[in-house]
Amino acid sequence: MTPSPLLPSGGATVRAVNDEFHGDLLEVSMGPHHPSTHGVFRMVVTLDGERITKLKPVLGYLHRNHEKIGEATSYLASMPYTDRLDYLNAMTNNWAYALAVERLGGLAVPERAEYLRVILAELSRLQNHVCLAGFLLQDTGASGTPLMYAFREREKILDLFESLSGSRMMCNFQRFGGCRTDASPAWLAQVSSLVGGFGRFLDEFEELITGNEILMARTQGVGVLKGPAAVSAGITGPMLRAAGVGYDIRKVDGYGLYPRFSFRVPIGAHGDTYDRYMIRILEMRESIGILEQALRDIPAGPIMDPKAKLRGFRPKPGESYGRIEGPKGEIGFYLISDGSANPYRYRVRPPSFVNLTVLEDLCLGHTIADSVVILGSIDIVLGEVDR
């Protein structure tokens, strides 16, 4: 520990005002109502001066026992509830749940519906990552402008979601065995024009931000996470890839139609907060490529499996685990059926909850201001953490 400037090592004795407290640790409770915690989340931080020596996350302020609700309702009725988990990414939550139910009931999905799912999931990834970049900059102190630039683009994607599903954020769009409504050619043309312009927006955003000296100073070397530690702690998504582990469930499981698309998986070299920011920017560029391929190749046809029975769906006894690469990481659903209309067990594997495991490790030794930036780069949504 560095000696206190108030207690000189030699010469005249200067008595500091509160010198009996020097060397003591200070426990600060950050949150639950704090703008930098991205919701109602609390960190009990033990500080030595400004340095963090201990950090314990306190969760559960938004806990509503989502899983119990899922066990008390039918398979179809849980679909709109999944929107409320990670409320930025209703489309991917829906897809993960639909995938688990499809495996449980042995349902097939028509090709056009699979294409629509890919399009919507990648649009979802774009708006999630653009939001994250905006929030992260807000957390580093770049108030307002970058966040608003990001939200301007996000709003365009939410408009597309609204015109297709009727809701900006609570989309309730996927069904087990397909999708709820078909996309019109006009809607697909709108997506095309958005995708066409998104690369230009990213160029502009990066020109403003990526090389910015303050961003680099605040994020490079801050919150370093190494690959083996990340794998053991179950970290998934952009955070894992920033740590240098090339694990993308779109490639590994090849669910949906992802094996048909050519895209690269960006991997970080340092595992710090800057890498986590950069991975998201690079993933957005890959998503644009996937969207272009999907919009070019989407076939005509039905969007629902004719054998799928939405109401009164009673799968045979058994269990299934379905997982997809959500924008925040692996979102999975584990279902056990006992043959009745409600699942016997309904479990959500939330990516942001598990990603919080390493929050303390990332923050130790950094200043309290850095903890805000590190938390921002983990990308949590409390609706999903607390369920």
Binding site: N65, E67, L104, G106, G332, R345, R347, R349, T357, D386
Partner: protein
Amino acid sequence: MESTDQICSRILSRLPGAEVSVLQNPGPAAQHSLLVGRQSVVEVATFLRDDPELRLDYCSNVTGVDWPEKVIVEVAKVSTPDPAGGAPKVTEMKTERVQPGYLEVVYHLYSVALRHGPVILRTRTAGRDAPAAVPSLTPVWRSAEFQEREIFDLFGVVFENHPDLRRILMWDGFKDHPMRRDYVEPEDYEWEPTPHGDLVEKAKKARAQAGGTPG
């Protein structure tokens, strides 16, 4: 990747004393699981993680399942020959068997290094009431840390050797385990006494004496 049966026989050949069996999944998903006894779960988990052909280094999902006590009624038909020489008399014999309840912990394992999975690992507690304990697998896979805390909180499974076993989603003073099948929600669990309780009671009495409606 090897099938669940192959993995099971390989575990038994390497760890002869381990209690491992395959639990079939009858549904179309056909994700079968390894049912491991409490005593050998840490040993088996470590083997699954370190075996060069499996290398299940990533524990994705950890969850609990509550299986309460179940009464199984078995009907057996017993035919007794008629002494008068007619058709034999068939009577139904009902036997009731009580299957004791237990809590189950399910781990979904994948390999990041070899890109395969899932291998599903299940272990069961002896009963549903204290001590409903299983060994923690957090020392093997750190990703179980928060998820095992969640199971402790919502199901009441005690994980032995967990580094920090506290409630995580419910508040500290909470007593019950809400994800259990037989959980009954209290009528008003947010009620708490305030210093004004006596005053409110007094006001109610006064209003009743005055002939008003009790507020």
